[in-house]
């Protein structure tokens, strides 16, 4: 079963200089019990995608065609604000990047964890017990005493784990994690990733995991969606994306991963060029102006070419694997 199915989603922001197409023709699925990673550089539309799913687009943004189907048939793009609000929290939960700001500084952690269960119909004692249980699950030491403490008494990593505990408290079907480990140091990052994987197994939810850290994506995710300038340029299983990238952007992105560097170098590799102006999208391939394999055909809109096994790339040349370039 598919928990979240996004098809041909377009999001447009109206700006003073005209409409800005932040998301164009975005399609991918989040199957049940799987962790799907979204990877892409800053400004590729990751946050817009989250807000579109949550129904929290800024006032000047709107969904311009496409569907976001949640748990089979509900199209989130057609739901009213109240119905959307009922889904957020119990069914779709979110964890944000900054653990420092995610908790209210003037309320104790316990008060906030009890408070967030207001829709559960549990008694206060049950809510408190559930809060302690969740804190134990995210390995906060001495959970029974910890719920009386205030956010400033916890470290950044602990706060992020508390935020994860709060998000998973209602056992949602989908957890959206927006770069939850970016603000943490490397050791904590690994621990948080492992914990997230454990909890996902235990609760049986799906996770939409946004990150620009390829190592984390490779470690955690079952499937990967590669985004560039508001488009899904490639999607497939983690193995397929990392071992057999078909879109030139994916290939270049992987080459740029510092973990893949085998030689000492002064300058880490980058992809030359910049993201095109989203107010004036080129008619053809969005990546053409930076692509090392550009051909004449790239001036026309590229199709989503299916490679097989759910692996697809939006590139005219996806069928023709890249030749090894002689050094």
């Amino acid at each position: 079963m598919t928990v979240l199915s996004i098809s041909n989603l377009n999001v447009v922001f109206s700006t003073e200089d005209g409409p800005l197409h932040a998301l164009k023709d975005v399609s991918f699925d989040v199957p049940a019990n799987r962790i799907v990673g979204i990877v892409g550089e800053s400004g590729c539309g990751k946050s817009t995608l989250i807000n579109a799913i949550l129904g929290l687009l800024a006032d000047n943004g709107h969904i311009d065609g496409g569907a976001i189907r949640f748990e089979g048939d509900t199209d989130l793009t057609t739901l009213g604000p109240d119905a959307m609000r009922d889904l957020r929290g119990p069914r779709i939960a979110t964890v944000f990047q900054d653990p420092m700001g995610a908790l209210n500084p003037v309320l104790s952690v316990g008060a906030q964890m009890v408070n967030i269960q207001y829709r559960s119909g549990r008694s206060k004692a049950e809510k408190r017990a559930r809060a302690v249980e969740m804190l134990e699950q995210v390995r906060i030491p001495d959970a029974a005493a910890a719920i009386k403490r205030y956010p400033h008494e916890f470290s950044g990593g602990m706060k992020q784990r508390i935020a994860i505990a709060m998000a998973l408290m209602m056992e949602p079907a989908l957890l959206i994690a927006d770069e939850p480990t970016t603000a943490l140091d490397a050791t904590l990052e690994v621990a948080t990733i492992e914990m997230l994987k454990d909890l996902q197994q235990k609760i049986g939810c799906s996770i939409l995991f946004i990150s620009h850290h390829l190592g984390v994506i490779a470690e955690l995710c079952d499937d990967v969606v590669v985004m560039y300038a508001g488009e899904v340029v490639e999607r497939g299983t983690t193995r397929a994306i990392f071992n057999d990238p078909r879109h030139p952007y994916t290939a270049r992105l992987l080459e740029c991963d510092p973990a893949r560097q085998t030689e000492r170098t002064r300058n880490l590799p980058t992809i030359p060029g910049e993201i095109p102006d989203l107010r004036a999208r080129p008619p053809g391939c969005i990546f053409a102006n930076r692509c090392h394999r550009r051909e004449d055909v790239c001036a026309r809109p590229p199709p989503d070419i299916q490679i097989g096994g759910g692996h697809a790339a939006r590139c005219h040349l996806a069928d023709m694997p890249e030749m090894e370039v002689a050094p």
């Binding site: 949550l54 929290l56 609000r85 009922d86 889904l87 957020r88 929290g89 119990p90 939960a93 979110t94 944000f96 900054d98 420092m100 700001g101 995610a102 908790l103 209210n104 500084p105 003037v106 309320l107 104790s108 316990g110 008060a111 009890v114 408070n115 967030i116 269960q117 207001y118 829709r119 206060k124 809510k127 009386k148 935020a163 709060m166 998000a167």
Partner: protein, 293 residues
């Protein structure tokens, strides 16, 4: 629904409150302020026990008696005991201050939250209203209202509420705007919290503390408005005693019998000093930057 919100004060470990009290008692000005306020409040509450004189009983034979053993502060032009009138005047002053400040805190907080969290046009409209009300001089506003409703304690309360609400509302509005894009409010919104819930659970506890301290520093202003209106005959109706009307009684005969004006003026000065010292010390005690120690 409401029982889901646990009281933030109750959740706090008691040592926090104790530490605050201890720090308050270490400040000489704070102790002085607290003493003055307790004296005034105690005098108002136990007025009937502290004096056997009826503050409204006219006794023409004892007019203009100086302070002495029988009449501690002397008597006024109608022979009424001034000590009893000062104590009972304190009741009027403090109850007006508490009631009016309470009402305007509630209204100010609600309006401020709505202005800060609501749509932009509503914010602009409310700011315009606040500024218009604020631009009236207090005395003019008082005169206008008394013309409409007649002089009474209710008029005093209405004037005080009208005068103080815009200030409270503006403070709450500014804080709300600052907080509404904070990470935890965004997080709460993304977890499906309604605007009412976000305001009640997340924004209100963050803004209410400083405002209450500010309001306690406003109490002397409120007492001043009450005394001023009563002095002008726009407030409390005779024969009910008020510090303002005692001042007015003494003002006409200040050359011959100055103790009447003094009896009305001293409590106003003391209560003003008391609440100001207490409020300022409280503000310092609860300042989070000093909390670290």
């Amino acid at each position: 629904m409401s029982e889901a919100v646990s009281d933030p004060q109750a959740a706090k470990p008691p040592s926090d409150a104790w530490r605050a009290v201890r720090r308050l008692l270490r400040e000489p000005l704070g102790v002085l302020g607290l003493t003055l306020v307790l004296l005034m409040v105690g005098g108002a509450i136990f007025a009937d026990l502290l004096t056997s004189w009826d503050p409204t009983r006219i006794n023409p034979r004892d007019r203009f008696l100086g302070p002495g053993a029988e009449h501690l502060l002397g008597t006024d032009q109608l022979g009424r005991d001034l000590f009893a009138r000062v104590l009972h005047g304190g009741r009027v002053a403090l109850s007006v201050a508490l009631i009016a400040t309470g009402i305007s805190l509630v209204i100010g907080i609600m309006l401020g939250l709505i202005a800060g969290y609501g749509p932009r046009w509503l914010d602009n409209l409310m700011i315009l209203l606040f500024d218009s009300v604020k631009s009236f001089p207090t005395v003019m506003l008082a005169l206008a209202l008394v013309t409409l409703f007649g002089p009474s304690l209710t008029s005093v309360v209405i004037v005080v509420v009208l005068v103080t609400v815009p200030g409270y509302a503006r403070i709450i509005r500014t804080q709300t705007i600052a907080l509404k894009n904070s990470e935890y409010v965004t997080a709460a919104r993304s977890m499906g919290a309604s605007p009412a819930r976000i305001l009640r659970v997340h924004i209100l506890p963050n803004v209410i503390g400083p405002l209450v301290i500010l309001a306690s520093m406003d109490i002397p202003v409120v007492i001043g408005i009450e005394a001023g209106m009563s002095f002008l005959g726009l407030g409390v109706r005779p024969p009910t005693p008020s510090w303002g009307s005692i001042l007015n009684d003494g003002f006409t005969s200040i050359r011959d019998t100055p103790w009447i004006a003094v009896a009305g003026g001293i409590p106003i000065i003391l209560v003003t000093l008391g609440f100001t010292f207490l409020g300022e010390t409280l503000r310092d005690v609860f300042d989070p930057r000093l909390k670290a120690r």
